[in-house]
Symmetry: C2
Subunit: 394 residues, 2 copies
């Protein structure tokens, strides 16, 4: 057996996929990956502006609380100001540009006015209530780096720089091929010995959520010729091929022979539970990842192994996940493999789903994350453990 870390190292060091760049509307960019740094061509804010509704003046001109200043202009957000007449104040609103000559804004709660003049109780130091030009972002600053996956706030940030179209990496295309004579699609009647194909739904949703384009090749019969045709087509049309089932050491597995004849395959026994058998190779130059047919094993290996590999292929710079630490509410003996226990977190700690058999897909829907239990490490109630909420895999 090889460790999870070693398997990941082998997978990720072999990555040779490079996706093209395309230019898209910022509005369509959620979850897309930047192909180039975002460099600001503007200052944000573009000019000094008021943080308050109030009055702008020059500190030196303040005559004290008992004397009035004439209100010489009125500046709303979006209206360009004129230079401030010496010895006067400007009525000003939040976000409005500070007029040349003013160096402080007094909030209106500290003022009295008769509409023509203003009496100011107290002023702050020079610069008070003024948001300086370039405070948020300076002209020329790198705001986001190439390889960053865009979130809502990143899109807001880019918009605030005046940028409406951006260069991103083309979505990675991923093929899903389900193998197994026993599989039948949901919506049909399952005969004796048949089970429903759940991996296809599970994997397609995971891959789409990660921002990839998915080509689903359905269920392929356990026939070498058919598997070979489907694999060849997938290698021409996609950037990576994922299969489920068909890569254990059983006699009925034809995937291995086919991949060998079209490229190269390594069968790994990874010290991961659930999920031990894992195949890696290439089909006519396209990376090939063979997951176990068992849905829980397919789910866990997709999160732990497939995700970082495909994110590398997609050009994502930070695909690694840092587990959280939480108190275990259960005891669990360690095993020879690194276990991904399906769990649920609460304010008191993390509890385990009682049935951890890899056949029980319900263990993944019951909870909200997984505890990572290292090989040979026992977990005792009350100890701190590593937890990965499923949302961290988004």
């Amino acid at each position: 057996m090889i460790s999870v870390d070693e398997a990941l190292e082998r997978l990720r060091s072999s990555n040779r996929v490079l996706v093209d760049t395309e230019t898209i509307d910022l509005r369509d960019s959620l979850g897309r990956v930047l192909a180039a740094d975002i460099v600001s061509a503007v200052n944000v804010p573009p000019a000094d502006n008021s943080a308050m509704d109030g009055y702008a003046l020059r500190c030196e001109d303040w005559p004290g609380p008992d004397h009035a200043l004439e209100i010489s202009q009125r500046i709303t957000a979006g209206t360009p100001p004129v230079p401030l007449q010496q010895g006067t104040a400007a009525r000003i609103f939040t976000g409005a540009e500070i007029p040349p000559g003013a160096d402080v804004v007094v909030m209106q709660e500290n003022c009295k006015t008769d509409g023509r003049c203003v009496w100011i109780n107290a002023i702050r130091e020079v610069g008070g209530n003024i948001r300086p030009k370039g405070q948020d972002v300076r002209h020329g600053a790198i705001v986001l780096n190439a390889g960053h996956r865009l979130r809502a706030q990143d899109m807001g940030m880019i918009a605030s720089l005046g940028i409406a179209r951006i260069a991103v990496l083309r979505r990675l295309k991923v093929a899903i091929i389900s193998t197994g004579e026993e599989l039948v699609e949901p919506g049909n009647k399952a005969g004796p010995g048949q089970i429903y194909n759940s991996n296809r739904y599970l994997l397609e949703a995971l891959l789409k959520n990660w921002g990839f384009e998915v080509m689903d090749f359905g269920i392929t019969a356990d026939d070498p010729k058919i598997i070979s045709d489907v694999m060849s087509e997938a290698s021409r049309k996609t950037d990576a091929i994922i299969t489920t089932g068909g890569v254990s050491v059983g006699e009925e597995d034809h995937v291995k022979a086919v991949v060998e004849s079209l490229g190269r395959i390594e069968l790994w026994r990874v010290a991961i539970k659930p999920g031990k058998p894992f195949a890696f190779g290439e089909v006519l130059g396209t990376p090939f990842l063979g997951l176990p047919g068992n849905p829980v094993s397919a789910f866990v290996t997709a999160l732990v192994m497939v995700r970082p590999f495909l994110f590398d292929c997609q050009g994502v710079s930070h695909a690694d996940i840092v587990p959280l630490r939480q108190i275990a509410l259960f005891d669990k003996k360690g095993s020879a493999r690194q276990e991904y226990l399906r769990t649920r977190s609460g304010s008191n700690g993390v509890e385990i789903f009682e049935q951890q058999s890899s056949g029980v897909l319900y263990s993944t829907t019951w909870g909200d994350g997984m505890v990572v239990q290292r090989a040979g490490e026992d977990i005792t109630k009350g100890s701190m453990v590593d937890v990965i909420p499923y949302v961290l895999f988004n």
Copy 2:
């Protein structure tokens, strides 16, 4: 000022939106909300099946390690077995159905065979290596509840029950209206006193990520007639209206008067930072939420206030977020408001972005989450604080 909790309580208790049910393909259901419980009409697995590649037999028939059993049938996954002939073994593969009469599977590593007969070194107790029928899900069990937002593994689970179409709640339709004469859309040239409209991009992405349908009404001029027309149209076409800007107490804010004339508006001063001014009401019967124009304030109030309200409207049953606990790597005095500090988490603890001014949108893109600092509570380096990674808001 009212507390964040009180504001949330008022918002959420006033919710009257009910969305219809629609039936969709399971494949399109990622992020959708179940309109009804998912009840299993099948057992998963549908029959006892083998957890291993090996040999199925009746424990009683085992003749000991030195005597062979005849191999009377060969059962692959997907092939219905025939009843096991007494005193024989069946060759069986992982996932294949156990033949009537057999009560144990021996893994092939514990067997020798000449192709016709099998010698078995040792057997396990009755039931060994057999995954019992209904182990994952029993017929009639509720697998997922109405109000659940579907994740990839939930879709796999539903597929495993043979269900291909499901009843979900129609996507909530949300209107976004940006107000402010100073706003200009990205891609255009910003004149003096103008700033780019970032809220539209930020909010649209957040709302779409939450599974809502977004109708964007663009930037509305600071003109009561125009605002009124846009609001009326939005109330006819959507389930909820969100505005940014125009609800502070400044003289230039027309939104308040318009909403008052078309329905009802409350202006709240919420003890939240960033984000104090918040408007809530209705426009011709449609809920109205008025966010601050400042992008950081809009972002924080969208996550903290808008998200739970809209998830309630959408029928999501579990919209609440449980913060994580992490060590603070910074000192920060408390204030009169509950602060949402923009932070970044590492393995040593959580660090703060130095510039917490609400004008600095970059504070939200720099990091990966927020520390919640309660009103009046000081944070000292080394103490435990509540952290909400942004991904938890997904």
